[in-house]
Subunit: 207 residues, 2 copies
Amino acid sequence: MSERPIDRRRAETRREILAAAWELCHQEGLAGLSLRELARRVGMRAPSLYSYFASKDAIYDAMFAEGQIELGEHMSFLPDDDLTREDFRAGAQAFFEFCTSDPVRYQLLFQRTLPGFEPSPETYALATDRLERLETQLASAGVSHRRHLDLWTAILTGLTSQQISNDPGGDRWARLLDDVVDLFCDHAGVPPTEPSKNPRTTTRSRK
Amino acid sequence: MSERPIDRRRAETRREILAAAWELCHQEGLAGLSLRELARRVGMRAPSLYSYFASKDAIYDAMFAEGQIELGEHMSFLPDDDLTREDFRAGAQAFFEFCTSDPVRYQLLFQRTLPGFEPSPETYALATDRLERLETQLASAGVSHRRHLDLWTAILTGLTSQQISNDPGGDRWARLLDDVVDLFCDHAGVPPTEPSKNPRTTTRSRK
DNA sequence: GTCTATATCCAGATAGAC
DNA sequence: GTCTATCTGGATATAGAC
């Protein structure tokens, strides 16, 4: 289970390559990733990359996995049980911020735009695990219909993708977030937070 | 103003090339458009395409324009004045169907995923004209805040993109459409349609 | 005017020397 | 592990036949 020095070094080089790949994609677009240029940036020739990744798609796959893990960490502040309306608001804000802060990452994780690329089963499992956790969280707030889960994801990705496509760097859709969360919560039956109490320490009326 | 035969022929060949380009993109993905393969499919060699389009991006631009015009036609059944809640429902259904029926076209029109490609000003004007018409239509139903316009587009593109990305060919998000339209209309103050009257022939209570 | 042929450049990927 | 050399093939652009 412990890492040999050779594996540590190898993992470090992989990380270095991935960091350069992200930077390159930020500059040239997700599909603009070129192995020659990527290799140049880490002081290699293109064929040497194949010692670390089996193919260009394997690099995309590792980036996809990295993005999913980052998203999981970014959302990990949310409790698994007894979500309040405040948690919905904070969760929406966090997801929105995560996505809009890196449109290229958003494109890789949530849009299917790279011809021929599909995440590997192991990597895709990261995405489904995350969705299952969300399902659990919503259910803990009494939102247990798949319709409501689907509505929640549609609302969030809708605001997010509009913000990215039509007002990058701005807040035209960001400002709608709180209203939309309230709209959803009213619809899905998540009770309003009592303004006089602290939602994180109050006993909930729901059992 | 009238077309010379030579221009007619040229326009026809352009249309033929565009049709083949759409077919190729449907098969290989939007970014998978190859000029060699495109030329092969219309019985040409690649360089001959340059007699009809100045560049590959010019082909994308023409496809973008074509898509915008198709969308305009697809939505043209909607009146410009006095939209009812029924019109919102029908409009949402029509937009959703238009988008999900051709994910590649949706990607070209609404997502910014082709590195380096931007529609020309003339072509982009088709998109802004369409959005202005939508603005007018919403205003005619008393929905005149930009917040509501933005919410409407976010909701529609959210449901649409989720359907395309996560349940292509299915109806998982399509089934949410009517509920969401009602949610939006309640929020934006579009009055419910009286069930006993025909919304297209009834005198509206709103002036 | 439109075509074929060709030139240049760049892409992902592999073989094999070291 | 990293390199050079090379394969296949796409994108752009030009020359010149017809």
